[in-house]
């Protein structure tokens, strides 16, 4: 009788479901039926003349075991699998209840490992690999100029842009952008909006579609048609309440009417997500011959047939041409291309990858730890397995039972892991907020989660849990030896032992690598902190005042207005002193101007022409407020006004470079206030300031007095003995008392800015430190459990040896010998791996070599010490074994 599934599937399913869900009825029905049969048979026997009791007995014997028959019937209905599954689940739950801590630890470790890994992988993928919201974004490249002497990437000058655009064959299109800012005075507080000027073809070159309205077209570049603006999504939602009829409305930027022609979607964020509006900027023809001002940020689209390398080669050639044509300015200029994505994520790529590697190590350690614990338990279960095998339990039956056990663990861990992952992707981007500000990124945690990554890591870890749970059944044989020795053989099964040993070695090695990595980052961070900023950030509040150009422009208006503002601010209670600087340190603002030394030899003059220096405009007491030291000469004072001799103060670094052996005070340096360098007298030298933050070198700097130069915005620094954050509202009020339409922007305390400047380093250091600590903890647990298990296993043996005269050192060497060797092997492997891999951290390290000996030794000692601590308690337990009890106890 053949089984033909295609005919019967539906009926089978219905039949099974019926029996399953109305189990009682099924069971009762079956009992009744069997009962009827037996009675009928008894009647037949009685009719044949057999006495009733005898008939009963015979009937039962002939029928066979009632329960067995019923089992066969249940199997015929397909109930057996479900019954078995139910049994296995109940068994698993009983096992868990017997030792809840064990299960909780395993589930927790797996959940953290899987969840954490998924979160980090998802974030890294989103940041580094997510396609940009532009058409064919791989063909978009940023074009930079590089000064090969200073190795600094720079924006393009007008002249270079014009030349390279005209002469290249590699690009379909080039477009430029230029930062700007406006004061938006519509409703509410006057607000400074961060703007970018785009060439009219920028949006179309990117292939970016607007959410509402349209983007720029060529006509928007024409004079008379250029008062149009495209809004960013966040400005539209924030300031204008998401009003869908905004297109066509006129808003006032710097007092001028601009028509809103479109709104960009949330994902569009070029060049960064802080930009509020975009306005068109036709190419200023006056700059077509200018090779001194680096103001154009250029993006280009590669032709379909041209690769990045080919384009780079062509740009190198064009750059050399420019060098020949304009040796005064372009002699050391080269062109550098990079993918647009790289421009966005370049400086966060390495930290992200380090994080990913570290969390992956954590996953490996977590999985191996879990495997270790499960294998240990499996070995302990050998006796149970042997008994059940010899009682007739099939190998597959046992396997299924242990698989279910593994699955219960895995599924609990998996559920928890999803929670951890979800939380992780919500939290991680917050920690890297400043660095990620330039990227168009998803808004909701759910969108970040990469389900494929989750599936993959889940799959791996589940595999680990399930396999390690099932191993005892896989090796099940009714072993006479196991049964006879009471289940505690003197040796673990060789396979299990080898596997666990390998896992311990792996854990130790990986933990060492994480320790070394985090040690290096910690030392680097401490060295960073030790650096002096060059000024005293404690107690300083900084903010930026924007001067609307149609109201305050040119000297002496800007200078007198500035002085009025400072007077008002100084009058605020709590303020000790206040001063002004065009571009305050640590704010990311800076300005550069061309300069040269007129007294130097003429050929040096030629090559020096149009080198740039950091250029700052300050009020006289700026240095005092910031506690910047005077090294020679004097600060600015009342002598330095409009009309009197034009003076500058330089910083120590510039003094050392130009005049290493003499006092530069009194000498002349040609510095450009606008475009052309003019002679300026040096009246003082001040200490270096780490303008870009602790991690960067101080640049060469030149200061000019505010009474001699006007500037469109000014940073203000306020010193107070109170907590600077408390002064914010009173300072704002003071400014608005002077001019109610003046925006006060970027109010931060200097200390926050200083902390932010090393924010990335700190975050990475903390993460790696966290992982390293967890790894060491897990390795500790692993070593502890290995030794502890060994002691339990060999209590009997140790008892015998002690009875035969073994002393404490002997016992210790038995117990600890293997584990010590494994730990040492692990340390050696970890050391070699660390030496090989830490080079990748080099760019994140400050003043520390990746192979720093102190860190390596400290890490090894830490881990070794941890291993000793882990071994201490079980070893002590071993030495305390009383031979009498051990020998007696089976």
């Amino acid at each position: 009788m053949t089984w033909r599934p295609e005919v019967n599937l539906l009926h089978r399913f219905r039949s099974l479901a019926d029996a399953l869900f109305r189990r009682d009825r099924f069971e009762n029905s079956m009992s009744d039926e069997v009962q009827f049969h037996l009675e009928a048979y008894v009647e037949e026997l009685v009719r044949a003349g057999i006495p009733r009791d005898e008939a009963h007995r015979r009937a039962r014997i002939e029928f066979g075991g009632v329960e067995l028959v019923k089992d066969d019937c249940r199997q015929a209905r397909g109930l057996q699998s479900f019954d078995e599954l139910g049994q296995n689940l109940r068994h698993s739950l009983r096992t868990i209840r017997r030792n809840p801590a064990f299960t909780c630890v395993i589930v927790a470790i797996l959940a953290l490992g899987i969840g954490g890994n998924t979160a980090v992988f998802s974030v890294v993928r989103a940041v580094l690999l997510r396609p940009l919201p532009y058409g064919e974004s791989e063909r978009l490249v940023s074009i930079w100029e590089k000064n090969t002497e200073h190795q600094r990437k720079d924006k393009l000058t007008g002249g270079d842009y014009a030349d390279w655009r005209a002469r290249n064959h590699a690009f379909d299109e080039m477009a430029y952008s230029w930062d700007a800012s406006y004061t938006l005075t519509d409703s509410g507080d006057p607000q400074t909006v961060l703007a970018y000027n785009f060439s009219p073809n920028f949006f179309s070159m990117l292939g970016a579609q607007p959410l509402l309205g349209r983007t720029f077209v060529e006509e928007d570049g024409q004079p008379g048609h250029d008062r149009v603006v495209v809004l960013s999504h966040h400005l539209w939602e924030g300031k204008f309440g998401g009003d869908r009829s905004i297109v066509g409305r006129v808003i006032r930027l710097d007092g001028d009417p601009y028509t809103v022609i479109g709104v960009m979607p949330n994902e569009f964020a070029h060049p960064n997500s802080k930009v509020d509006v975009w306005t068109p900027l036709p190419f200023p023809n006056g700059l077509a011959q200018n090779f001194g001002l680096h103001v154009f940020q250029v993006v280009a689209r590669l032709k379909p047939t041209v690769s990045l390398t080919q384009a780079q080669n062509e740009m190198n050639f064009l750059a050399r041409q420019s060098a020949e044509d304009h040796p005064n300015t372009n002699l050391h200029t080269s062109a550098e291309l990079e993918q647009l994505r790289e421009t966005y994520v370049g400086n966060i790529r390495l930290p992200m990858l380090v994080l990913q590697a570290a969390v992956f190590f954590m996953l490996l350690i977590a999985c191996s730890n879990v495997a270790n614990m499960l294998l240990a338990r499996a070995s302990a279960n050998e006796r149970e397995v042997a008994i059940r095998s010899s009682l007739g339990a099939g190998k597959w039956r046992l396997l299924r039972q242990y698989l279910v056990q593994g699955l219960v663990l895995s599924i609990s861990a998996a559920t928890l892991a999803v929670v951890v992952a979800y939380w992780g992707v919500a939290v991680l981007p917050q920690l890297f907020r400043t660095q990620l500000a330039t990227l168009p990124l998803p808004a909701h945690p759910g969108d970040w989660l990469d389900w494929r990554v989750m599936a993959f890591t889940l799959g791996t870890a589940l595999l680990v849990a399930v396999i390690c749970s099932a191993i005892p059944a896989l090796r099940a044989r009714p072993s006479q030896e196991v049964l006879r020795s009471g289940g505690r053989g003197t040796t673990e099964r060789l396979f299990a032992l080898r596997l666990r040993s390998a896992l311990i070695v792996g854990q130790v090695a990986l933990s060492l690598m994480l320790l070394v990595g985090s040690g290096l980052l910690i030392r680097s961070f401490l060295k960073l902190q030790d650096q002096s900023l060059g000024f005293q950030p404690h107690g300083i509040l900084s903010f930026v005042l924007q001067f609307p150009p149609n109201r305050y422009s040119g000297l002496p208006r800007t200078a007198s207005f500035l002085e009025e503002m400072l007077t008002l601010i100084r009058a605020v209670p709590g303020v000790e002193s206040a001063a002004s600087i065009s571009t305050p340190p640590l704010t990311g603002m800076d300005a550069r101007r061309p300069y040269f030394d007129p007294s130097g030899p003429t050929d040096q003059q030629k090559t020096d022409q149009y080198q740039t220096v950091q250029y700052r405009v300050i009020t006289p007491d700026y240095f005092r407020v910031m506690n910047i030291r005077l090294k020679a000469g004097r600060f600015f004072d009342d002598r330095d006004r409009q009309g009197s001799r034009n003076v500058i103060i330089i910083n120590e670094k510039l003094a050392r470079e130009r005049w290493p052996n003499t006092n530069p005070v009194g000498r002349t340096l040609n510095v450009a206030d606008l475009a052309r360098p003019e002679p300026r007298e040096i009246v003082g030298v001040v200490g270096d300031v780490r303008h870009e933050g602790l991690a960067a070198e101080s640049p060469i700097e030149v200061y000019r007095p505010a009474y001699q130069v006007s500037w469109p915005f000014f940073g203000v620094v306020v010193r107070t003995s109170l907590d600077p954050a408390q002064l914010v509202s009173s300072v704002r009020a003071a400014v608005w008392a002077g001019d109610k339409d003046l925006p006060v922007n970027d109010v931060r305390t200097m200390e926050d800015l200083a902390a932010d400047s090393v924010g990335l380093h700190r975050t990475i250091m903390l993460f790696l430190g966290l992982f390293a600590s967890l790894a060491v903890l897990l390795a500790c647990v692993g070593i502890y459990s290995m030794i502890s298990y060994s002691v339990t296993l060999r209590t009997h043996e140790i008892g015998i040896r002690m009875a035969l005269g073994a002393r404490t050192p002997d016992v210790l060497s038995i117990i600890l010998g293997r584990t010590t060797m494994l730990t040492i092997i692990g340390l050696v492997i970890g050391l070699i791996a660390a030496l090989g891999l830490t080079r990748f951290l080099a760019t994140l390290l400050f003043d520390i070599r990746p192979t720093d000996m102190v860190t390596l030794v400290a890490a090894m000692l830490t881990l070794a010490l941890t291993a000793v601590c882990a071994a201490y308690f079980p070893a002590r337990r071993a030495c305390r074994i009383d031979p009498n009890i051990a020998l007696r106890d089976e």
Binding site: M1, N8, S15, E33, V34, F36, H37, E39, G65
Partner: protein, 114 residues
Amino acid sequence: MKSAELLPGTLDMLILKAVSLRPLHGYGVLLRIRQISQKALDIPQGSLYPALYRLEHQHLITSEWGESENGRKAKYYKLTAVGRKRLREETASWNRLVAAIAAALNTTPDDLEA
């Protein structure tokens, strides 16, 4: 008549046949098979009910509680349309098999030379 041993796979066929003649309860199936095989086939009681359940699971027979001859509650099985068809097919196939084997076993040396 000497009892024959039940070949594996034939139990299901016999049950279908028994039930095809008239709806029967389990014990009745036992009696019926004994009867129609001229008392040569005696089903081992332990394998009867699993077979009945299996056949019902495959929807070749259906069951229904009813009243037995002596007024007791009993579960009666009867053939479904699919079961009837299966019985026909298996019977034909069995007959073919039996004929072929019988022919093979009854071959005499003379037949070979033909």
